[in-house]
Symmetry: C2
Subunit: 267 residues, 2 copies
């Protein structure tokens, strides 16, 4: 998906909401079978119920890998459920030496049909480069994450700035605003203005809203640009809005509620 297609989809759905399919086989509503097939059925119903309120889905690879090869197969089948109008993100945090990263890129962009994959910048340019070599595909580089551990290295001084700032500054040169995004956690909204200065035109994928405490309005006010440049991810607060038979209704309600907070930012 190109940037202009993504922006068009945001305008059409009046939403820059991304829904995280962090589907845990051990936490399915009771009436769904507690199995890998249950995960698929849960995802199918969640996507059906929420797709008009969002523009992207983010599949958290860990939840599927925990189920072994059958879980990986459910991930493959879940990507196939996401409509073409929606941006498909593999939240996989990959990154390795160049020839190995090429295989991760093949895994997520060719074998699986994702539009984007989250990648870790620690190993530097050649570990990210293979993800930037596909037309219409994106690397989403970890900048500032939403977890407590962000303070261990990301928020530590590195040269004349903080490490995550160096990452944004340097890695934004490796690609373009058409194939590179950044993860910037919602739990640090006070940093957004400074971050916009470092990567003014890039899209940000913002996790940490909902269960992790960030809120849509604060983030949007601080980070939105003319063609949005923003995908805000919510996982647990939507997909686990109810654990009962009404889980699709409650997920739709939660997604709709997040989406309504975005309307005023979409002109």
């Amino acid at each position: 998906m190109t940037r202009s297609q993504l922006v068009d989809n945001i305008r059409r759905n009046k939403s820059y909401l991304c829904i995280g399919l962090d589907t845990d086989a051990r936490k399915l509503p009771k009436h769904l079978q507690s199995s890998v097939d249950g995960v698929y059925e849960f995802n199918r119903q969640i996507i059906e119920a929420t797709k008009s309120f969002c523009v992207a889905y983010k599949i958290n690879a860990a939840f599927y890998e925990a189920l072994g090869s059958k879980g990986w197969e459910i991930m493959e089948r879940t990507v196939g459920l996401i409509p073409d109008t929606h941006f498909r993100i593999a939240d996989a945090k990959r990154g390795d030496i160049g020839n190995t990263s090429s295989l991760y890129a093949r895994a997520f962009f060719e074998t699986l049909k994702f539009d984007a994959v989250t990648v870790n910048p620690y190993m530097g340019e050649d570990s990210i480069r293979p993800f930037l070599e596909y037309d219409g595909k994106w690397a989403i580089i970890l900048g500032l994450t939403s977890n407590p551990g962000a303070s261990d290295f990301e928020l530590q001084p590195a040269g004349s700035a903080l490490l995550y700032e160096q990452v944004l500054k340097k890695s934004s040169q490796w690609g373009t605003t058409e194939n590179l995004m950044f993860v910037v956690g919602a739990t640090q909204p006070e940093s957004f203005k400074r971050i916009r200065g470092l990567a003014p035109q890039h899209f940000y994928l913002v996790p940490g809203v909902g269960a992790q405490g960030g809120d849509i309005e604060t983030i949007s006010r601080a980070a939105i640009i003319k063609d949005f440049g923003l995908l805000i991810n919510v996982s647990r607060s939507i997909i686990y809005a109810s654990m009962g038979e009404d889980f699709t209704v409650q997920a739709a309600n939660a997604a709709s509620s997040f989406q309504r907070q975005m309307i005023s930012f979409i002109i």
Copy 2:
């Protein structure tokens, strides 16, 4: 596998060689079927031919993920081929927020029966912690990697040291010498003495020997300690020593040649 078991195995096999199963379905010897089953058969024969010359096998997850769920299944079956006497490493470079890393740990330590998994330190302590909560299992944290991109961040100043030095210093406090190792690339042997000062008792997993240019003697001289503290990984130079029908013989010869260089360091 505990540290003392690993050390005993090194003494018994007179080897601290780890063989990397970076098995590319597109590069199998011609007489093997070019398919996922071909990958399994290749791994089976390589393990059988080389197991007396090494103490560990490292499975590079990317090569299996590139084949989709069938590749993940071959990874599962390949782990099952590695004898109990050998240390099983998933080279997967994982790491995410705590609740997600718990699922990666479950994937590699429970669903798959690996002894260790490589992890990326960028996101800090809570992203690594779940990998340290299994008895006899190990997290292998990326310190200094062997690729050109190491100069982008790892080798940049961070506070009073370089970033990878801060990583070693801080993260060595998160676990013990019994559940935490570090990746330290062989292409930087001049750094080994300084690194030993930062994490004097930890095991290092050293990639970069063979195809990437490092050599056994230089590394061993610089980094070995009383109970070794060293696993040197070789992938391509062993498993692709020959692309013909004699590939097992040539892989065994290559593995044996690397192992012979280790004997004088094992007392």
